[in-house]
């Protein structure tokens, strides 16, 4: 039988692979999008405007962005070196260390808060030390940042580890031979090559920190002014929405929708920055 139709034109063969892949992908995208549609539909335009105009909520958003920026900064500062060590060095206990890095991803959120509470309460050894040093942790920014760091830094470690593994060691050797010290080679070759993945890891960490509730409920339900947050007294946005859900559910839905919008804008912004080329990952940064 020839593959032509009644008019003699070649019959187009139906390719099922892309159709199946498309249908499966679309069902997942629908799962991501439909709850948001329901959220925004329920909030309505007037609800969104009212939520966005709420001063107390605005403060929580500013505070959440503030605390999450500190947490992500610390997460990158500590997570990238750990990712590098895991990617480049072979040592005893490496498998254990890799498992330890994964623990925060699987541990229930409330347990995170409880564990940190037990560790840092004033009668615990470390808690005594922290209290004596004059660093407020409970209901303070340090607590919020700690929780965000705990629940999110694993993403920075894992994504930078994968990225560092993918950097060809021959590139580093070429750089060394061309006169670069190990630090210069790391800054000019290894880090920019892994830059994109580190940005993705940082973004995931940020998202994880912003969406956290359980840990904050235990450790930092309210946030009182303390270094480096000058005030006023506030909550993280997630706790604020959680609170409001018990008082005024429709208002909580408006706040939640605004938080989603803010997050989407930040995601899109970072992606756009990435596409136009982060200066340093394009080789214009160092040397």
């Amino acid at each position: 039988m020839s593959a032509v139709d009644a008019h003699g034109a070649p019959r187009r063969r139906i390719r099922f692979g892309p159709i199946v892949a498309g249908a499966l992908s679309a069902s997942l995208v629908a799962l991501f999008v439909l709850p948001l549609v329901a959220l925004f539909g329920d909030a309505g335009f007037s609800g969104l405007v009212a939520a966005a105009g709420n001063r107390t909520f605005q403060t929580t958003v500013v505070y959440t962005l503030f605390a999450s920026a500190i947490a992500v900064g610390l997460g990158v500062l500590t997570g990238v070196p750990l990712g590098y060590v895991l990617a480049r060095y072979r040592f005893r206990g490496r498998a254990v260390l890799e498992s330890v890095v994964l623990v925060p991803v699987v541990i229930p959120h409330l347990v995170v808060g409880l564990s940190l509470l037990l560790l840092l309460e004033p009668n615990a050894p470390l808690g005594r030390f922290v209290a004596r040093a004059g660093i407020p942790v409970f209901d303070a920014t340090a607590g919020v940042v700690l929780v965000m760091l705990y629940v999110g830094a694993s993403y920075v470690v894992l994504s930078s580890e994968t990225a560092f593994r993918a950097v060809d060691p021959q590139l580093v050797e070429a750089a060394r031979s061309l006169g670069a010290t190990p630090t210069e080679a790391f800054l000019s070759v290894t880090l920019p090559s892994a830059g994109r993945a580190i940005v993705t890891g940082a973004l995931l960490m940020w998202a994880r920190g912003v969406s956290e509730v359980g840990g904050f409920l235990v450790l930092a339900y309210a946030v009182y002014p303390s270094f480096p947050w000058p005030g006023p007294i506030t909550n993280t946005s997630s706790v604020f929405i959680f609170n409001y859900y018990g008082i005024d559910p429709s208002a909580a839905i408006g706040f939640a929708a605004i938080l989603v919008l803010v997050s989407l804008v930040i995601f899109l912004g970072v992606r756009l920055l990435d596409r136009t080329g982060l200066a340093w990952s394009r080789g214009g940064w160092f040397p």
Partner: protein, 339 residues
């Protein structure tokens, strides 16, 4: 003396031991490191460049001992097998890299010089991924020379190039060797690259030096399977191949000439013509890029011979007369055990 000198270099890595290797390369000349895969060529080059510690021996560059120095202070222009071009930097930024690292005030000028010297001006704003293999190789060479090295170490500098591209780059390399007057050590699998550039060969096998010196002496040197293949000898017979050939005259000739690793039949040792003598016949006729190859079967042994001309002149099954010149046969050394 100026140039590069290795003396008694030994490198041990896990179960593999390389050396002792000694060689000296004068400015403006090249030494080729040859050998089968796993022989230790790349290990030696990386040890010289400073990426593997020496277990014994010394490396001197222009009378300065460099084996205790980190790679960035040895002043070798080292080009790894995949060229090591930075994918996130444009061609210009790649070439400028060593000058920028050194903080040279004339970096822009020197970069322009090397970019023009290698004909890369119109490619200067491209990324390595946007270049052909030959262009990428030129960028790697320009960058290595921009670092103003005291010697060049190139691992497979012309790999993955077509014949035309390789000839162009070979010519460029030869001109460069004449003008920059640097010692060059290159690792290559390709006999024609080695022949075109290198005044001296160092052949490694399983970490040991099997031959070192003027390539013209190679033909008379004791051979192993790698060297025999490198010389273009197609017909090599191991002791196992020769185990059952004693009943035939040709087999007896081979057995008489064989060494511990068997025997090689250089093309000059083999003559044949169509004709019904001795029970030898054409087993296969194959076209290759280098011409026709005819397989002649004598008992269990197969001899491959190259035939010039547009058609081979014989067909499968044709009887042939085959003769070996016993004096031209070459015994092979036994396999080298890795230590």
């Amino acid at each position: 003396m100026s140039g590069l000198a290795l003396d008694g270099v030994v490198v041990r890595r896990g179960g593999f031991a390389l050396g002792p290797v000694g060689l000296s390369v004068a400015p403006g000349t090249a030494t080729a490191l040859l050998g089968p895969s796993g022989a230790g060529k790349t290990t030696l080059l990386r040890a010289v460049a400073g990426f593997l510690p020496l277990d014994a021996g010394s490396i001197r560059l222009d009378d300065r001992r460099v084996d205790g120095l980190p790679p960035e202070r040895r002043r070798f222009g080292f080009v790894p097998p995949n060229l090591g071009l930075f994918p996130h930097r444009r061609v210009r930024q790649n070439v400028a890299y060593p000058l920028a690292i050194a903080g040279r005030p004339d970096a822009a000028e020197r970069t322009r010089h090397w970019i023009e010297r290698f004909g890369l001006a119109r490619l200067a704003d491209r990324y390595p991924a946007e270049l052909s293999t030959g262009e990428r190789q030129r960028v790697a060479m320009a960058r290595a020379l921009a670092a103003e090295p005291a010697a060049l170490l190139w691992d497979e500098p012309l790999a993955a190039l077509d014949v035309e591209g390789r000839d162009t780059l070979l010519q460029l390399l030869q001109e460069l060797l004449d003008t920059v007057r640097l010692p060059l050590v290159l690792v290559t699998h390709d006999p024609s690259t080695a022949a075109a550039l290198a005044a001296e060969y160092v052949v490694l096998n399983a970490g040991r030096v099997r031959f070192a010196g003027d390539p013209r002496a190679l033909a008379a040197a004791p051979l192993d399977r790698f060297l025999a293949r490198f010389l273009g000898y197609d017909n090599l017979y191991s002791p196992a191949d020769l185990a059952t050939v004693g009943a035939r005259p040709i087999g007896r000739t081979l057995l008489a000439a064989a060494g511990p690793g068997g025997v090689a039949v250089p093309p000059s040792a083999l003559t044949w013509r169509p004709g019904p003598t001795g029970g030898c016949a054409v087993a296969a006729v194959r076209a290759t890029p280098a011409g026709w190859v005819v397989a002649l079967q004598d008992g269990p042994l197969v001899f491959r011979v190259r035939v010039d001309g547009p058609v081979p002149g014989v067909r499968v099954g044709d009887p042939v007369a085959l003769e070996l010149d016993a004096a031209a046969l070459r015994p092979l050394d036994g396999p080298v055990e890795a230590t």
